[in-house]
Symmetry: C2
Subunit: 333 residues, 2 copies
Amino acid sequence: MKSEELLYTTMLRDELPAVRATMLEVQQRLPDPVAPALAAIINGGGKQLRPALALLSARMFDADVENAVPVAAAVEMLHTATLIHDDLIDNALMRRGKQTLNAQWSAAATVLAGDVAFAWAAELATRSQCLRLIKHFSETLAIICSGELNQMFTTRAQLPTEADYYRRIFSKTASLFALAAESGPLLMQRDEADVQRLRMFGKLVGEAFQIVDDVLDFMGDEVTLGKPVGGDLRQGIITLPVLYYFRRHPDDVRLHAVLARAEHVRGHNNYMRNESTIQALIADLRQSDAAEWAMQQAETHAAEASALLDIFPDTTYRQAMQEITAFAVQRQY
Amino acid sequence: MKSEELLYTTMLRDELPAVRATMLEVQQRLPDPVAPALAAIINGGGKQLRPALALLSARMFDADVENAVPVAAAVEMLHTATLIHDDLIDNALMRRGKQTLNAQWSAAATVLAGDVAFAWAAELATRSQCLRLIKHFSETLAIICSGELNQMFTTRAQLPTEADYYRRIFSKTASLFALAAESGPLLMQRDEADVQRLRMFGKLVGEAFQIVDDVLDFMGDEVTLGKPVGGDLRQGIITLPVLYYFRRHPDDVRLHAVLARAEHVRGHNNYMRNESTIQALIADLRQSDAAEWAMQQAETHAAEASALLDIFPDTTYRQAMQEITAFAVQRQY
C-alpha cells in the first residue's frame, strides 16, 4: 500500500497542498540563503501523516477548512522545527535523502532557523482562534523539548523498561500525533470525551508509527531510509525491538557498549566508533524475531486506535482515518 | 537612581516575586543538572523592567493580577529563552556576571534548554486566555528570531543607516518592550488606539534602553557589565554611537575591519583577533562625543514615551511607568 494509493491523499487533494503552501510562508521570515533550504525540507516532507490526521479530524467533526489548514500546518511546522534542532543536536547530515540544514549552515544559523520555524508554528496555531487548541499546542511543544532534554541527561546502567520506551516515544512522536488527531473536536468545542478519544487514537497511531520507524532503523537500507542504518544504536538509544532482543539475550555484553554509548554521545555529537560491533549487532537483530515481535506490538496499537473510532458515523473521513492506522504499520522494509 | 529606590519595585513588591516564581516553575520540565543552572539565570535576572512594564500596564488598565502575572512571566521567559540561544550563538561565556548555560553544558543541551524556555513562555502566554495577546506574543517571538537570523546573513560593505539600526534593535529589544507595555489594554480588550499607544510607549522605552546598553558596551567596565567590554564591536555590530562616530570620521579605516568582522563572525563564533585595533577603537570612542550624542537620542525617546501616557489618568501606576522611562536612560556607567 503506497501513500499515493491511499484514500487520504485523494480526499485531501486540495487541503494538503494548502497546508504545504501555508508552511512555506515561513520563507518570508527567513534570509535569502536559508529560505530555500528550509523550503526544500518542507517540500520533501514525505507522507504528511500528521497534517492529514489534523485535516481528517477536522472534517470528521465538521470543522471549518479555513481553520483546519493552519492547524495542520502548525502541527507539521512544529514537527519540522524539532527535526531541525534534532539534526543539529545529533550532528545528522542527511534526512529523507537530503542534506540537513546543519550540513549546509553554521550551528548558529541552524539554531535560529529552528527558532523561526517554532515561531511560525506558534503563529499558525493562534490562527485557529481556539484557546483550548493553542493551550494543547504549547503543552505539546513543551513535552517534545523537555522529553529530548531529559533523554539527553538520563543515565542508564541497565536495559530500559517498556514504560521508559513508551514515555520516550510519547514525547518524541505520539504527543504530536495526539495533538493532530484531537484538533477536530477541539476546534468544534466538543466535550472532553470526544477530545480524549481522538487524542488516544492519535497517541496509539503515533506509537505504532514510531515502533515501525524503530524497526526500520535496523531492517531498512540506507537508500530507502534516506539516512544511515542503525542510527539509534549508534546514539545509544534502546528502541522497542532492541529492548526485546536484549531481554531475550540477557548475557549479550554489547548492551553495555550501546548504553555506554548514550553516556558518551550526550553532548558530544559523536557516533559509536566501534563500527564492527554495531554492524554485528545489526546483523543479529535482523536474524532475530525482534522485528516481527515489535511489528506485532505496532499492529496491536493500530488496531486499538482504529477501534476507538468505531463509535463515530461511518463516513469516508472516518474510513480515511482508520486507513491511516493501517498504513502506519504497513510501511515497507 | 538605583532600581531598589524606584517606585515600581515598591509597588510591585508582591507581583515581581510572583513573576519570578512562575518562571521558576520551568524547572519541573528540566532534568536535574540543567534545572538549577536555568534557575540561577532566572534569579539573576536584574532589573526586571519587562515584567514591571507588563504588570504596571495591567494595573493601569485595571486588568486582573491573576492574568497579568503569567503574561509578565511569559515576556521575561521569552527574553530569557532568546538570551540562552544568543549566548550559544555568540559563544558568550559570561552574562550578568555569571557563567552562561553554554559555558556549562554542551551546545546540544543548551539548544534544548532554550527550546524548553520558549515552550514555557508560550504556555504562560496562553494562561492569559487572551487570543489577541497570544497572537502578539507569537508574532513577537517570530520578529525576534527572524531579526537575528537576518542580522546574521546581512552583508554590509558600508556603514548601516540609522533606519537599519532601529530595525535591528526593534527585533532585538523594542518589540518585547512593546509587547510588555501593550499587555494591559490587550488583556482588557481595549480598543486599538490604546493598544497602539501603549505599544509605541514600550517601543520607545525599549529603544532608549537598548541605546544606553549600546553606549555601555564601550563606556562601561567589565565588572559592572558582567561581560567583556566592546562585545558588539568584536562581533562586527555597528551600534548607534559607533554609527555616529564613523559618520564623523568617514576616513577611519577601522570601520572596514569591524564590518569585515561581521562577515567573518557569521556562523564561526569567533571574536575579532586583532585585539589592539579593538582596544584603540574603544579608547577613541570613549574620547569622542559619540556616547553623549547617543544618550541624547535615548533621552528624546524616553521623553516621547513618557508624553504618550499623559492622556491617561495620573495614577501611581502611570507615574511608575513614566519613572521607568527615566530609569531606562539613567543607568550608570
